[in-house]
């Protein structure tokens, strides 16, 4: 217990954003609206996204000089947490990660153009996965073709691929790691293959980049460290979204347990249901504490080891809390829980999807062991 970093702060700005986000999500994403979007093409309502952009949320992590409000990742956390709670889908996390990538790795030129666009609601998405393993090496390549850059390879499970205005594809250029910015009009529509996700509120697609040619200034060199930091931001944002969803799952269970009777008693009076429900609360509380600690560190320091520890712990805990909650939500609803009509299915499906965004629990624990159990 020596030197354990326990920083945890919550600013006025975060608080204001939180209140606004809660109200917005509640008003714009009731369960009927969520269900209506399940079968939609993009998975979200463009008008809602426009409203969110107007509220400034697309620019929260973008410096004022590029049209953002520069409140930082820590202010984005309460927004995505509430989106998670209300299952409100919009490309906010997707674009925020793209913004961070450009902010930390981009040239001045790229920042000038794309950060401003992102602040205005342009949708960008990071294309990094090539197989199921988030820890796997990059094989997609960028090749110099007479001053232009030609891409060879494909990426899978790119978030909001169909809605994206541009992609940032992680490639090898000779021995370097690079991010290549590809605008969506450079990709033929049949090169984007929409995937079928277990979470029907979400969208992702595989992208075939083979033969795409871009200008040399669309490519920036990146370090493994900066890619790791981007993945940590991704993990933290998804942890917050998952934990918001976990709190909705808990509400959903509590509401059933306090209204449904069986054998003449409210079922919530049975400890076999009551105690695991308390355990969900405890697991969710843990996730929340870890998330706001990580959020604090993203703003107060520049991704030191403590930040990495915090983000990884937050994601591992958020994953496990929601997996447990989703599973119990279905079970505790009995026969009702076995139907598509019962909202518990939305939560259990989100849980399966969310655990794999930017690393499952075992992945993060593996890296935590490296960080925490050194000699």
């Amino acid at each position: 217990m020596k030197n354990t970093n326990l920083e945890l702060a919550f600013t006025e700005e975060q608080s204001m954003v939180m209140d606004a986000a809660k109200e917005f999500c509640r008003e714009n994403s009731d369960i009927k609206t969520v269900r209506a979007l399940l079968s939609s093409e993009l998975g979200f309502n463009m008008e809602i996204w426009t409203k969110m952009v107007e509220l400034g949320w697309s620019g929260i992590t973008i410096p004022e000089s590029f049209g953002g409000t520069d409140l930082g990742i820590s202010a984005l956390i309460p927004v995505v947490e509430n989106m998670g709670h209300y299952l409100l889908t919009a490309p906010l996390i997707t674009s925020a990660i793209a913004a961070q990538a450009i902010l930390h790795c981009g040239t001045t030129e790229l920042k000038d153009i794309w950060l401003s666009r992102l602040a205005k609601g342009c949708i960008g998405t990071l294309a990094i996965l090539e197989n199921e393993d988030i820890g796997s090496a990059v094989t997609m390549t960028a090749i110099d073709k007479g001053g232009k850059i030609e891409l060879r390879g494909r990426k899978i499970l790119v978030s909001d691929a169909a809605a994206a205005d541009f992609f940032l594809a992680l490639c090898k250029f000779e021995t370097d790691l690079v991010l290549v910015l590809v605008s969506s009009d450079q990709i033929k529509s049949d090169c984007i293959l929409e995937r079928k996700l277990i979470d029907e509120t979400k969208r992702a697609g595989d992208i075939d980049f083979n033969g795409v040619v871009v200008d040399a200034n669309a490519m920036v060199k990146v370090t493994p460290r900066s890619i790791k930091d981007l993945k940590l931001i991704g993990a933290l944002l998804h942890a917050a979204e998952a934990t918001g969803c976990c709190s909705a799952t808990l509400d959903n269970i509590v509401s059933y347990l306090t209204t449904r009777t069986q054998f003449g008693r409210l079922i919530g009076s049975y400890q076999a249901l009551k105690h695991p429900t308390a355990e969900i609360l405890i697991q969710m509380d843990s996730a929340k504490s870890l998330i706001y600690h990580a959020a604090t560190l993203t703003s107060s320091s520049n991704f030191c080891i403590d930040t990495e520890i915090a983000c990884r712990m937050a994601k591992a805990q958020a994953n496990d809390a929601l997996l447990f909650a989703g599973d119990r939500a279905v079970q505790f609803h009995g026969g009702m829980g076995f139907t598509y009509e019962c909202d518990a299915q939305l939560y259990i499906r989100r849980a399966q999807w969310a655990q794999h965004q930017y690393g499952d629990s075992q992945h993060h624990r593996f890296h935590l062991a490296e960080l925490l159990l050194k000699d």
């Binding site: 197989n131 393993d133 090496a137 277990i198 599973d327 598509y340 794999h356 499952d360």
Partner: protein
């Protein structure tokens, strides 16, 4: 049944070889869709037709209903033959024999207490899968408490008029007959006394079904509505008021061929060997998942649990080894297996990395989304037939003698 018939050990060995050879030669090819693991998972005509054809084929070959009477389509053989056929079908993992309510519930009931007309009318078509059967016990909002059944059956001349609602009717939209539990006497001192048991036709005016979409997004159950539906008075099984007793009787047939069921696997179990096979094809931190020590340790934990469950089935047949709590293994079996499956299937998804987020219908999903569907469908067994919470109470109270809640 035909327990008293004699048989020869050599015959038995020969028979096992024969059935095994036949199954290997006739096992259907991959139909291009995920095969149902249980009979609760038949949501389309396409799947139904496939399974119907398979059951017909198995019966035609003589490997179903082997211990049922010959005159009603059975084989008239000692049950050991069916048991061996069942073992081989499970071992070779052929598709399920789907007409479960007929094969395992209605059929044995009719053999035991049906009249000659009923035997002639129903038995053969259950085996051949010509007639699909469903079960009408559960009602909306009453969980599995049969005492509170509200569906009414009112005698009027040669008919009963049925009014009410049933839920969780597996194959309800495909079934020709239902074993129906309904109330013929609205007010009785004990709630169970007013119930009667019917072999009810489904295709009559006033009976309609509404498919229930499962959390998997698929179908497999219906809600069944009775609005002044008229069924022949001859559908009554036994006498009025016998309903609860007969229902309890049918529940005992579930236990497989020994108890009188026609045989055949009603579900395709998923074993740890399947999960291990999966881990061989997945990469984690640039290495094969199967070489990850943490995953290996978890897999071994599940394997110990699986082996203990399978050995428990064996030990249950050795009374001296069950002398402390004689009913323990049998009363906890459903709880143990269904919870083991739940945890193991959930873990399988966790192991899949980014592809764990894919679902049935995606051609990149690992094994076509098999584990995702298996996990979600598994709630059918941790909830249906008494939730795991109720099962735990049963074990605690009936095995350990702990007090009721």
């Amino acid at each position: 049944m035909t327990n008293e018939l004699r048989y020869d050990e050599t015959d038995i060995d020969e028979f096992r070889k024969e059935v095994s050879a036949w199954l290997q030669a006739n096992k259907p090819r991959d139909p291009g869709f995920l095969l149902p693991q249980t009979f609760l998972e038949i949501g389309s005509e396409e799947v139904l037709d496939f399974l119907r054809e398979w059951q017909f084929k198995v019966w035609s070959a003589g490997y179903l209903g082997m211990a049922w009477p010959r005159e009603y389509g059975g084989g008239g053989l000692p049950i050991i033959y069916q048991q061996i056929a069942d073992e081989e079908m499970k071992r070779l993992r052929v598709p399920i024999l789907f007409n479960v309510i007929g094969l395992g519930w209605a059929g044995p009931l009719i053999i035991n207490m049906g009249n000659d007309y009923e035997k002639k009318t129903y038995l053969k078509n259950i085996l051949s899968a010509e007639d699909i059967w469903c079960q009408g016990f559960s009602e909306p909002n009453h969980g599995s408490d049969l005492g509170s059944i509200q569906t009414q059956a009112k005698r009027e001349g040669d008919e009963y008029i049925i009014n009410g609602n049933k839920i969780w009717t597996t194959l309800g939209n495909f079934a020709k007959y239902m074993i129906l539990l309904a109330r013929t006497e609205p007010k009785t001192e004990r709630r169970y006394d007013g119930l009667s048991f019917f072999l009810a036709p489904m295709k009559v005016k006033g009976i309609s079904t509404k498919p229930i979409q499962k959390l998997t997004g698929e179908y497999g159950f219906t809600e069944t509505f009775f609005e002044d539906a008229r069924i022949p008075a001859s559908s009554l099984m036994g006498e009025e008021g016998w309903g609860w007793r007969i229902a309890m009787l049918t529940l005992q047939y579930e236990r497989g061929a020994e108890a009188g069921a026609a045989g055949g696997p009603a579900m395709t179990p998923i074993y740890m060997s399947d999960l291990i096979a999966m881990t061989r094809k997945i990469t984690r931190e640039n290495e094969p998942l199967i070489s990850d020590p943490v995953t290996r340790d978890e897999l071994v934990k599940f394997m110990i649990e699986e082996k203990a469950i399978l050995l428990g089935e064996k030990r249950a047949n050795v009374p001296q080894l069950c002398s402390d709590y004689p009913r323990s293994l049998s009363l906890s079996h459903k709880l143990r297996t269904s919870e083991h499956f739940r945890k193991m299937r959930q873990y399988a998804i966790t192991l899949q990395g980014a592809k764990g987020g894919l679902y049935v219908g995606d051609d990149e999903a690992i094994q076509g989304g098999f584990w995702q569907r298996a996990y979600l469908n598994n709630f059918g067994i941790t909830i249906g037939g008494g939730t795991s919470q109720i099962q735990t109470n049963i074990v605690a109270e009936h095995v350990l003698g702990l007090p009721k809640d």
